[in-house]
């Protein structure tokens, strides 16, 4: 297969970016999108040009490192996958493919397609944990209804990739924050700090320059792990309770 690639190139956070166009040929339909970029890069290196910087790691859809905006969609033209799971058979031979980084005020570009998602770490540091000290009770001491554990797990499947932020027209991190708050709120061991957690994480999100949620549901549509906006509803509830408590 052959493709025309329009790739965002940007030297660093301060530099002005631009699209560069590259041609690529001889790609197998079974090749993954990132493998196609590997091949592009090796071609560029041999031609004496600078390869395209992009983030990637596990290449099996779980680490959340890959982060490409492909033809106007986070993680490209398929549902519930990450870029690394996207294969070239999803495109037509001869297609032109546009590749951009996540675009959000809270995720500054590091270089080319690489962005800085440190803001996510900071939000979790604000309260996305259960405070556990030394010795804890036996794991089976508190039975947890399967339904609650399953819902907690649904929320916990968030991989922190940032597709929700990149997709949201406001650059809101609500789905990300909601996933963590909701996952812990569904468990009895997470209840003790639930109010403080919701408040602290939302405050940190606002402080870091993420936009407000206006319920367009775009985040849910592009989440590679199918995290739903039902968790945002739970976050709002937790947040409201916390306010009332105060």
């Amino acid at each position: 297969m052959k493709f025309t690639l329009k790739v965002w190139r940007q030297k660093n956070a301060k530099a002005k970016g631009r699209f560069e166009t590259y041609k690529i040929d001889g790609i197998s339909p079974d090749t993954s999108f990132l493998e196609m970029l590997d091949i592009l890069n090796n071609n560029l290196i041999v031609e004496g040009k600078e390869p395209v910087a992009f983030d990637h790691d596990c290449r099996e859809g779980i680490c959340g490192m890959c982060s490409l905006y492909i033809n106007g969609r986070a993680h490209g033209p398929d549902d519930e996958i990450t870029t690394c799971q996207l294969h070239m058979r999803k495109f037509k031979d001869g297609d032109t493919i546009t590749i951009e980084p996540w675009r959000s005020a809270a995720f500054p570009v590091v270089k080319d397609l690489v962005v800085n998602r440190n803001a996510f770490d900071q939000i979790l540091q604000a309260g996305g944990f259960i405070s556990v000290g030394g010795v804890v009770p036996d794991a089976n001491t508190i039975p947890i209804p399967k339904k609650d554990a399953d819902e907690s797990m649904d929320a916990a499947s968030c991989i922190g990739c940032g597709a929700c932020v990149a997709t949201c027209k406001n650059g809101s991190a609500m789905l990300f924050v909601a996933a963590r708050v909701s996952s812990l709120a569904k468990l009895p061991q997470g209840r003790a700090e639930a109010a403080r957690r919701a408040q602290a994480m939302v405050a940190k999100m606002d402080e870091l320059g993420f936009g407000a949620c206006s319920n367009t549901q775009a985040c849910e549509a592009e989440c590679p792990k199918g995290v739903t906006i039902a968790h945002i509803a739970r976050l709002n509830r937790e947040f409201l309770f916390a306010k009332l408590e105060n």
Binding site: T31, I45, A53, A139
Partner: protein, 648 residues
């Protein structure tokens, strides 16, 4: 060869009392002194994140380093199937002793009794800790924790969170780490890669890192350094490891005097998606948990194989009586749940005999038709839904309708830096935990035991043992990074980087790495022999020359330069690759994941040689000379060493 330098420091006393006694006998550091002591932790997977969080919680000053943009990306996140513990929640006669015995036996009697027993002993506390941290393990309708079975065990002791257990455990450890970062006890440095270890007066006192965003070379000092940097599986180019997982940190320490133990013990996992072509960059694992229900087979008739390859028939059209469920045939007692090394070799045997089911001849079936019929699609989807989805996305085949195709691939490395019972390497003050050390899995790791070991080391073992060492360091002032040893290390790193840029040859790093991968897979893969291993060493030596004269790395150091990162890593893989081959050549027995063709039974099973090889090989680096082999003999005080039998 000498045994003198290796002191395993295994405590005396009965096996079941060693850890308790040891804990009682070693020193602790007072809270006031802990505040004055600095610890560096490199790596943020299960081992590193849990260690950094626990050490921070204890009150030490911790600096934690990771190569990704966030600690949560560490490759522990990709572990799928589960984590073992001896809870005996199923009341199926599990116990600490049984978990210990299964692990020692699974490792083909090449691990230390005392270490493995301790691992089994602390396994239960790990589950308690993870639940307290909010890990959403799978539960039964009654609300209690669910379990499943894994290879090499006849009890059900594996705790899991769908097919994302590693992710959930890592998020737990990462959340504990985040709490410490917020509290100020841990400082986190992301996108930093360790490029050298700094030793002052014989003790590990700091590290040199490269800031991957800016290219700056930075110095960090501490009273002790903990490596939690994972294994060296990416030496083979194609593996299930993440692209950034690498061996550079452990190799820098090896070059500085840390012994490298059992490098040839590399795990080849039986259930991975087969290689599709030359453009492939990595392989994807299909969790071992699938072997709970999935049945592995190839056709009995070669004409069916031909038809499959030509796509004239679908696998589901082959009648039951024409299928060879070769694991159930060869190993009736364990069936599809034999350990990984056994299952991998059995797949290779069938494919070598011409029964491989895809165009390349290197694939077997993992079939769910029978369990779907027996349990219903919903139950199977509940257990393995995300794995089935992943398989379909990659291969375009729906595993609910046609069997998966699988083939063995490099997955995990049992070998690693040699450590004593306290997890300290041969360099005082340098510790290695998780996959980075060699300590618990012998010649073969059982499924769901890597997560157990990473968290055991990080949550429960290292935080205790490091106190003993640091109790002697309370008078040592803060480590000054202006000490000449730091400058010397930094200069060496800069020199290395400069040397690589100076080459400006013709071959990008990937091209050379693939060449190394081919050599490794061909001669140091599932079957090894003397002639092949000798050839591999020669080929690697040649490739090393090729690398240092012909690699092409674009750009400059002072930038986000991923090609430079890869080049520095490949330089180290070339060294590890050679060490793997050398160790494999020296170990003239078949044992665990290490299969020497010269040493097999008439039935093609591995033939161990306990008389000559019941030892840990520990390699000492020597400049411009072959490394020196040291041997740590393995003494089994409690169990009877036997030939592994998964047949009856």
């Amino acid at each position: 060869m000498t045994e003198t330098k290796l002191q395993s420091k295994i405590p005396s006393g009965p096996l079941s009392e060693k850890w308790t006694r040891h804990k009682a006998e070693i020193k602790v550091v007072s809270p006031a002194n802990k505040r004055k002591l600095d610890i560096i932790v490199v790596g943020t997977g299960l081992g590193g994140a849990s260690a950094a969080a626990s050490l921070g919680e204890l009150g030490y000053n911790v600096k934690v380093f990771c190569i990704s943009d966030s600690p949560r990306r560490a490759h522990s996140i990709a572990a799928q199937g589960g984590i073992n513990a001896a809870k005996n929640y199923q009341n199926d006669n599990d116990s600490v002793y049984r978990l210990f015995y299964d692990t020692i036996k699974g490792g083909d009697f090449r691990a230390r009794e005392a270490n493995v027993y301790r691992l089994a002993e602390v396994s239960n506390a790990i589950i308690d800790k993870c639940v307290a941290l909010g890990v959403p393990f799978a539960r039964e309708y009654g609300g209690l924790l669910a379990n499943r079975s894994f290879g090499g065990a006849q009890v059900s002791r594996t705790f899991y969170a769908r097919g994302q257990t590693g992710q959930q455990l890592l998020l737990g450890a990462y959340s504990a780490l985040n709490r410490q970062i917020a509290a100020g006890t841990v400082k986190s440095y992301n996108r930093r890669e360790m490029l050298d270890l700094v030793i002052i007066d014989g003790k590990a006192r700091g590290i040199i890192v490269r800031n991957l965003e800016t290219g700056e070379i930075e110095r960090y000092g501490a009273h002790a350094v903990v490596l939690a940097t994972g294994g060296y599986g990416n030496t083979y180019f194609l593996s299930t490891n993440a692209m950034n997982s690498n061996a550079s940190a452990i190799m820098q320490c090896y070059h500085k005097g840390a012994f490298f133990a059992n490098p040839c013990f590399v795990q080849i996992h039986p259930t991975c998606i087969p290689v599709h072509g030359k453009q492939q960059s990595k392989l994807t694992l299909m969790s071992e948990s699938l072997r709970n229900d999935g049945k592995i087979w190839v056709p009995k008739k070669l004409e069916d194989v031909e038809k499959l390859r030509k796509k004239q028939i679908k696998p589901s059209q082959i009648p039951e009586e024409d299928r060879d469920y070769y694991l159930e045939r060869r190993y009736p007692a364990f069936g599809n749940l034999v350990p990984r090394d056994v299952a991998s070799r059995a797949a290779k045997e069938r494919c070598d005999a011409g029964y491989g089911v895809n165009e390349t001849g290197l694939a077997v079936f993992l079939d769910f038709a029978e369990p779907i019929k027996r349990l219903g699609k919903k139950v199977i989807a509940d257990r393995y839904g995300n794995l089935f989805q992943m398989y379909e996305k990659i291969t375009d085949v729906n595993p609910y309708e046609e069997p998966m195709q699988i083939y063995p691939a490099i997955h995990y490395t049992m070998g690693g830096l040699w450590v004593d019972y306290n997890l300290m390497t041969t360099i005082p003050g340098l510790y290695a935990i998780g996959e980075a050390n060699f300590s618990d899995h012998g010649g073969n790791r059982l499924g769901a035991s890597a997560l157990m070991q990473g968290l055991a080391d990080g949550y429960y073992i290292l935080p205790v043992t490091i106190g003993d060492y640091l109790s002697h360091e309370i008078q040592t002032p803060k480590i000054d990074v202006n000490h000449p040893a730091f400058k010397e290390s930094e200069d060496r790193v800069r020199e290395r980087v400069k040397k690589i840029f100076k080459i400006q040859g013709k071959q990008p790093v990937d091209v050379l790495h693939k060449k190394l991968g081919n050599i490794m897979w061909e001669y140091c893969g599932m079957a090894r022999n003397e002639q092949g291993l000798k050839k591999a060493i020669g080929l690697i030596d040649e490739l090393k020359k090729e690398f240092w004269t012909d690699v092409l790395v674009p750009g400059v150091n002072e930038d986000f330069n991923q090609e430079l990162e890869k080049a520095l890593r490949l330089a180290d893989y070339l060294e590890v690759g050679r060490l793997i081959a050398l160790d494999a050549l020296t170990r003239n027995e078949s044992c665990g994941g290490h299969f020497r063709e010269e040493m097999q039974t008439e039935e093609g099973e591995a033939k161990r040689d306990d008389e000559n090889y019941m030892y840990v090989s520990a390699w000492e680096y020597r400049e411009n000379k072959e490394p020196e082999l040291h041997k740590e003999p393995l003494n089994y005080e409690t169990i009877k060493v036997s030939t592994r039998n998964y047949k009856t």
